[in-house]
């Protein structure tokens, strides 16, 4: 049980280059599951490896349970990690893989056996204990990697994209299992993924990274409802939020041939900028019978319960929109639709900096 604190921690791989992790400050509360999410190359793995002790911390501090661990080697940090590749020991059986950390710590045989058996029970690995990793399926290997982490009963779990080698169905199942297990064991967990759906569904809180910098650290619903900048807005949510650079007109902005009103605070903080970046989620756009922006449908994605219409504005090819429609929609490719914007649901960002206007 422990709290993890990144305190302006940085990692610079090559002197002079931009830091892979740049002044990261983040507090993970005791027992919390925090997800680090961001596009590939945003420094998620590096941040996790810094916490694991596999990368040095070039600047700043890192505390686990109040203890500064910058100079503490991995094995003394009381953490366990699940690697993306699982990093199972190929020459050892499942049992020996899971018992390895205990054996290395000189734990007595009976206690080793008790813990390994218990973990195998929890993870449904009991019948595979004698197998070598190569004789296991992807999902089973993943569970062995989890098992090797939980037998340690560490203060903190680290997981680097543990689901990325599984097929889509397994991924959804395992996602729920991991979240459930984490709840039950109540161990502080830092979880890395590039998949925002995983982040939103698993995280108590989610930290969005970009180019080594923390963009926003908040609960999933807060991220969804109040993204602090256009990057977070576009990254969180699927399909992604529509982000449009629109010219100012009157009390709002002009989208095709309609005006989208902006709230007063937004107008104030936008100042006299000539354009504003508007963010609208597909579900906040609706099809109407008459009024609304005219758009031409390029692609119809029918999901059964709902559909997504990818369209471009009738009078502006370059501006594209994703609109959520009803399931079994009758709209077809090439049709012109009218789209109504819910003004209450509009996010506005500074066109230059991407920062959120007002709050």
């Amino acid at each position: 049980m422990a709290e993890v604190v990144f305190d302006r921690a940085s990692r610079i791989y090559t002197p002079g280059a931009t830091p892979a992790v740049d002044g990261l400050s983040l507090t993970v509360d005791d027992g919390e599951l925090v997800v680090l999410v961001g596009p590939s190359g945003s420094g998620k793995s590096t941040a996790l490896r810094m916490l694991a002790g596999l990368e040095p911390i070039d600047a700043g501090h890192l505390r686990i349970d109040g203890r500064d661990v910058v100079d503490v080697p991995s094995k003394d940090r009381d953490i366990a990690m699940v690697f993306q590749s699982y990093a199972l020991y190929p020459s050892k059986t499942v049992w020996d893989n899971m018992a390895f950390p205990l054996k290395m710590r000189g734990m007595d045989k009976a206690e080793q056996a008790r813990r390994v058996n218990e973990a195998a029970e929890i993870l449904g690995l009991t019948e595979y204990l004698d197998r070598k990793p190569k004789a296991l399926s992807g999902g089973q290997r993943q569970r062995v990697a989890m098992g090797r982490a939980i037998v340690r009963e560490p203060q903190v779990f680290l997981m680097d994209e543990p689901l990325s080698n599984l097929d889509a169905k397994m991924r959804v199942q395992t996602r729920a299992q991991i979240a459930g297990l984490q709840n039950r064991l109540d161990v502080t967990t830092v979880y890395v993924t590039h998949d925002q759906v995983e982040a939103m569904t698993m995280g108590d809180r989610v930290a969005v990274l970009r180019d080594g910098r923390l963009q926003q650290y908040a609960t999933p619903s807060e991220l969804y409802d109040h993204p602090v900048n256009a990057f977070v807005a576009g990254f969180i949510g699927s399909p992604a939020m529509n982000l449009l650079d629109l010219g100012r007109a009157g009390d709002g902005v002009r989208l095709g041939d309609v005006d989208v009103p902006l709230r007063r605070e937004v107008r104030d903080s936008a100042g006299d900028a000539s354009t504003v970046t508007i963010g609208v989620r597909p579900e906040d756009l609706s099809l109407s019978d008459g009024d609304g922006v005219k758009a031409v449908v390029d692609v119809v994605e029918e999901l059964g319960s709902e559909s997504y219409l990818y369209a471009h504005l009738a009078d502006d090819e370059a501006t594209t929109l994703v609109v959520r429609g009803p399931g079994r929609t009758r709209v077809r490719y090439g049709e012109t639709i009218a789209v109504r914007v819910d003004p209450e649901a509009v996010h506005a960002f500074d066109s230059a900096s991407g920062e959120r206007l007002a709050s």
Partner: protein
């Protein structure tokens, strides 16, 4: 029919390998000494009987086993140590690696000559020169330790091969396994014993088998350094057969020995290769 274009190669291979072997078998069934023209006659298995009764042959066979396995195993151990060193980063690693590989690039005859004259010579040898501060005088390494002297030259030549093979093995080892082990609390020695050695096992097996297949045929080093002497103290089978055939002119006897050696080699090599293919085959499945 698709394989028809390969036929010439097959015919060629048969001509240069199988026909000489059949001839060897033919000669081995005859008594034929070149020094006594007209002595050629069928004796059937007499030659084989005397091969197995020949205590020199047995001694030489033992020498061959010691020389082959001893050299290969020592070369593997040394190669492993060097590979572990080269697998770390240090300034000048590229140069050191090149220097360490050079013994393997030298013609075996030249290497043997180098060991015989420049290094192991009692009066002028560098080995005695280097060891002189430790009280070693004009030690005649080659006459006192003939078999060991030959083996030293062989080991010197083959260590780089083992080193390269094991270095490739080390570099194919996934780093995340080592990182995982480090987080699991394993120290350097535990990582080596529990992960590196099992991973290297198939490379060690391959190196041992390949090295043994080459070294069992050693001729140049024996010929150059000791001429198999004193007596047959440092002779191995190829050299002994050569002696019997081309110095003793006993074609029948030496052909019989040759056949015995080939049969034994095939048996040993079959088992050894099967072992290697099995462990590589097993490893394939894990990726």
């Amino acid at each position: 029919m698709r394989r028809a274009p390969l036929l010439p190669a097959l015919v060629f291979t048969i001509i240069v390998t199988q026909i000489p072997f059949l001839l060897t078998i033919f000669y081995s069934l005859q008594s034929w000494n070149l020094v006594r023209p007209g002595s050629q006659q069928w004796v059937w298995f007499d030659n084989y009987v005397s091969v197995f009764q020949d205590s020199q042959f047995r001694g030489v066979a033992l020498n061959t086993v010691i020389m082959t396995l001893g050299s290969v195993l020592i070369a593997v151990v040394l190669g492993l140590v060097l590979a572990l060193l080269l697998n770390r980063h240090f300034v000048g690693r590229g140069v050191v690696r090149t220097l360490l590989v050079t013994p393997f690039l030298i013609t075996p005859v030249a290497a043997a000559l180098l060991w015989k004259t420049t290094l192991l010579d009692p009066t002028y040898g560098l080995v005695n020169f280097v060891l002189s501060p430790f009280g070693v005088g004009e030690e005649a390494w080659i006459s006192d330790f003939p078999l060991a002297s030959v083996m030293v030259a062989l080991i010197w030549q083959w260590t780089p091969f083992m080193m390269l093979l094991l270095l490739a093995g080390l570099q194919s080892m996934p780093t995340d396994q080592i990182e995982a082990a480090r987080m699991d609390g394993a120290g350097a020695w535990a990582i080596f014993r529990e992960l590196t050695l099992p991973h290297l096992r198939r490379f060690i097996e391959l190196g041992t088998v390949l090295g043994a297949i080459y070294l069992v045929n050693t001729f140049d080093a024996v010929y150059m350094i000791t001429q198999g002497g004193p007596g047959t103290a440092s002779a191995n089978l190829p050299f002994y057969i050569y002696q019997r055939a081309f110095l003793g002119f006993d074609i029948g006897q030496s052909a019989a020995m040759g056949v015995v050696v080939v049969v034994m080699t095939i048996i040993v090599a079959t088992f050894a290769l099967r072992l290697v293919f099995r462990s590589f085959g097993a490893a394939e499945g894990s990726h």
